[in-house]
């Protein structure tokens, strides 16, 4: 078939342009390190990239939350541990006081110490976290959980609601401990046979009162009560430990997830340098060849022979 001269030039220039375009694309890939500079050039990968990025962003949010919970649990643990120490200190005082070998002055000193310990217990139960929220008031985090009443008793003003946060899709962890749990609960049977539920603050107050009157029976009763309450707090410490371990595991899982997704994202988005460079050299070779042939072929014309 006859090929018109115009057509001839057009085809050749088009081919050159195409090759140049492909080289340009490879050059961008190599320069940006990304396979697709714009989503329209490969929308499927771009969409996949978007959803992977979304997953990654969620993992980061979970990670932030987990670290927050971990910090919070660490604070809780240290508070609860000190709390337990003070409960056992009260128990020690009770044992000492019940021995009967101490003078009234000594008992008086013990009472003063017990009062100090009670204050410490109250202030520990009213601890706050880094966000300035009370640790042990349920969801009423802006309300001081343990408040002294006019009659000297300690009332719990928080609630028992659980505060949970999402640390993975469909996976929630509890982040707070109720003040009521911290204060503990034991059953005391009165002389008249009635039972009543009382907490550490009530036991401590009764103990202080018993020291004041040096009532031996009440002091010795406190020993077992403090012991039981101390054990209850111990249970909470163990529980906090378990929860912290679980959190660590979660954090590791999230780290792993992130690595996997980052790898996937990299597969989709990042330039495969060896492949790109190979293609680039072969494309450049092809372009050079096309340019050479163009130059040569266009020189060929019958008119050259008309001289």
């Amino acid at each position: 078939m006859k090929i018109s001269s115009n057509q001839y030039y057009e085809v050749l220039t088009k081919q050159l342009a195409k090759q140049q375009e492909s080289i340009g694309e490879l050059q961008t890939q190599l320069a940006t390190g990304k396979k697709t500079a714009v989503p329209s050039s490969d929308i499927e990968s771009s969409l996949e990239g978007l959803s992977i990025k979304s997953v990654l962003q969620r993992q980061s949010a979970y990670e932030t939350n987990l670290s927050y919970v971990r910090d919070r649990l660490t604070i809780e643990e240290s508070v609860v541990t000190s709390f337990q120490d003070y409960v056992y200190r009260l128990k020690d005082l009770a044992i000492t006081a019940s021995s009967g070998t101490y003078s009234d002055d000594d008992i008086g000193f013990m009472r003063a110490e017990a009062e100090g310990v009670l204050e410490e217990l109250i202030s520990l139960s009213n601890s706050r976290d880094s966000q300035n929220s009370y640790l042990f008031s349920g969801t009423s985090t802006n309300i001081q959980p343990f408040q002294k009443q006019a009659d000297g008793s300690i009332a719990y003003k928080g609630n028992s609601a659980e505060l949970k946060i999402q640390v993975d899709s469909g996976y929630e962890v509890k982040i707070n401990s109720s003040g009521a749990n911290l204060a503990g609960q034991i059953e005391r049977t009165n002389q008249n046979g009635n039972t009543q539920n009382i907490n550490i603050f009530e036991v401590a107050r009764d103990f202080i009162a018993a020291l004041g009157t040096n009532t031996k029976a009440d002091i010795s009763r406190s020993i077992d009560e403090f012991d039981e309450l101390g054990n209850q707090v111990g249970g909470q410490i163990a529980n906090l430990g378990i929860r912290q371990n679980l959190l660590e595991e979660r954090l590791e899982i999230i780290e792993e997830k992130k690595t996997v997704y980052e790898q996937l994202l990299s597969n989709i988005e990042d330039t495969d340098y060896s492949e790109a460079i190979t293609s680039l050299s072969s494309d450049m070779l092809a372009l050079e060849a096309a340019q050479n042939t163009f130059a040569k072929v266009t020189q060929m014309s019958l008119f050259n022979f008309l001289r």
Partner: protein, 978 residues
Amino acid sequence: MTDILSIGASAAQLYRQALATVSNNIANLNTEGYSKQTIESSENTPSKRGVYYLGTGSTMERTGRAYDQFAEANLRTAQSNLASQEPIIKHTNKLLNYLGSDNTSLSSAFDKFFSSLSRLSAAPSNATLKQDFLASSEYVASRFAATSAEMGQVDNDVKSELESELNKLNEYAEKLGSLNASLAKHSKESQQPSALLDQRDFLMLEMSKLARINFVIDDAGIVTAGFEGSSKNTVFVDRLGSTTVGVQYAQDSSGQTGIVFDPFGDALNVGTVQGGSIGGLINLRSNIIEPLRADVDIIVSTFVSEANLVHQGGLTREGLINQKLFTISPNYAMTEPNGSVNSGVQVSVDGDQESTRLLNITWDARKRAWNILEAGELTELTPNLNDQYSFKYKDLSVTFKEPPLAGRDYRISSNSRPADSVKVAVQNIDQIASADRLIIEASSVNTSGALAKIDFGYRSSPVIPSDAIDVSKPLGGFGQVNFEAGSMAPGIVIPQGDYDFEIELDASVSDDFAIQVITSEKNHLVGKVLTAAEKTFVDNNKFFNSASLYGSDYLNETGANAFLDKEIKLGNYNSNELSVTKIPLQTDSAGNGSTIISANQLALNGVSLGQLDLAAGETLSAKDIASWVNTHSANTKVTATSENVIKVDASQIDFEKSLLINGVEITGLGALTDVVDLAAKINSFAAQTDVLARADGEGGIALYNRDTAKGENISLGSNVVGQSINALGLTNSTYTGQLKFSGANIDFSFVDYAAGAGKASDLAKLGLTTKLSGSASALSDMAVSISGSDGFSLDGKIFVSGSIMNRIPTIEDPLEIKFTTDTRFQIIDTNTNTVISERDYDFDSQIIFNDLKIALDKMPAQGDSFKISANLNSAGDNSNLQRLLLIQDAQELSGATLQQGYERALSKVGAVNSLAKISEEALEVVYEDAVTLESSISGVSLDDEAADLIRFQQSFQAAAQVIKVSSTIFDSILSASR
């Protein structure tokens, strides 16, 4: 004559022309649309010499045009197909690059929103995180608007490109039309100048780039053109010239684009335009851009409604529920008649209204006033002199940027693109509803130690039986309500809410039924004690909560003993005055005397009324009732008066008929002609009838008792057998008179409804309806049903006042769940100490009450109690934020999450984009082929031309040699003769 010289001369002439043609070909090598020209020569007519012929040389016939009609048509089709892909690729690229990029995609906006929400949920009282959450809400809303604007911008680009392509088409069509006029000079195409034909073919090719066009070429080479597939009426280029085509956009958001023939004349729709850039652009609008915008709108509105649903259920730090997180309000824009947007006006709207509106605005220059037409309602507004181009109309502020043209119709409509108009409703961090609205606390004295959790959103709307009437639906009177016989099925339902109702039922004297009001939790509030069978009906009816146990503690109770301390009144309660205009006919037919109402059935103002008797053979009259009521006046403080006035309309009076009053015939009526005489005539019999008459001043008369017989019955009749209507035009019957009760209160009630003392029929006997009135309960639905042996169809009316539509406007009053045994509990309204529901506890199904689900973590014990109250002091509660977070994973977009839905919408566009790219590549090949074919026929090849040049040059040299030879011969002859 044939001689060598002329042969040589003709040949030299021919080859000179041939060389010129070749030169012309070379000269036009780069001329667009140029077709290679060829020489067509022919042998001259030979001359006869005796028995033989001698050739006489050759001449140039004409220059031919290397041209193939089919190759041209082929090229045009390839051109149309190829050109249709380019705009699709170009614009979908734009859309994909915007919507699919990391920074501008909605996907990343959602990510930002939810991750900020997630962080806030870990520390819900942290002001910085709250602020960050608000900012990310604003960000999401602004991304919606920007995305919508971007898609709108692409749509506008497409529209303006379409308009410019149409302008090109019109321009080419005009040129082609005038070319047709030049071609009309010759009747054969072969006679036409090549240059004109080249131009014609070039125009056709260019037009094919714009759309697939059907060209028809006649013998003279004249072209008619119309869009492929369109009718003959819309051919826009013919031998006479061309007609413009225009564009019209659909007013709705369908994205339809119409091409219109002669837009300022006949304005015919040409139907579907395919191929070329115009076809591509039209296809792009309706099949890609608009569906994408619709998809995005659905994603946005789903996100907003889901987020609002959750947010409205939560409690803010300000202690409010029902607060929206986002609002959607429409944007207003002015549109031109062809549907395109006119930016010359600015409209803003106050408030949050979601319906779409259309306004037609005209400026009346003479009156200096705006006329605004909306939904058939015309408003005239005279603007402020200083600022006459802006005005406020209802909730709209309209500003024209340029002076309006008098008389022109400006259309302003609201578009219903949710994505355009999402705004954050929450103003400050204290309005974020992060907490649950209620909190549940186990009582400290509970012995089981069970902990309770509360969750929301379990409310199913009341099961209103299809044949029952819902009083909360706006209606004035309902006509009839049908109560099913003996089944206790609800005939009327009073759904929970904060409103008052009054239901008026019109019973007849013989109806024997008891009106029952029972809550959906099976609290019997009003009625007669149920039989065992009736209780079974209640237990089996789906309206009533099957978990609840039947209770009658509040049955017919009043004051503080009533259900929720709000009593429901049954009877007929009035203040100051009560008139009864019609007392049903009640006659002692047995003739022994009878009791109409037994003693202690009805009470008036709390005083039990005695027996109402009827003397032997009598018919109960207003006077009888009045005197019965008046025997109790000292206690009831109610006095009753009676009268009997019968109105007679003038038009009904027929003097030809007979009239008996109280059995006495009024004679001589036939001679009368007017009502005054009739009254006088009746009065003349008053001594016998005890009835007087007077003209009523309106042309009729009124009959009434003489004072001595005030309130007694009046019987009317006629003495003609079979005549049921008498001379007064009234039915022959006993007329029982009217009653009027006076007193501070006139409250009729039933003495002991629970025991069956007092019935609606007792009130009916006095001509009174029975009314049921009270307040709807905020905590349970109520059903009105009827117990008794029969079903009834009763006339009735309903009156409702208060906020019915907004059923959960405030937080519930405190509730208590109290276990009366280890397995049975009551739900108690603490403020009124009312047991709303009593149920048996089942650990597996837990407790579902209205929209609440209360779950205990272990079996409770007798005496355990759980308090549910407003969660006002929970700065640290993140429960509602947790619920908001769940939207991220909710599959609300037909099985897809927001993220997936967005990706799905984009991948649809992506598929079109890649398909168009592939098609373009394929069509490019087809096009190249077509070009190669066409150029192989019509194109100029320099090598060919060079060869021709050499050929014709040599031929010319040879011809010159022939001339030289002839000259030599001539010279020889001349010298021979010298």
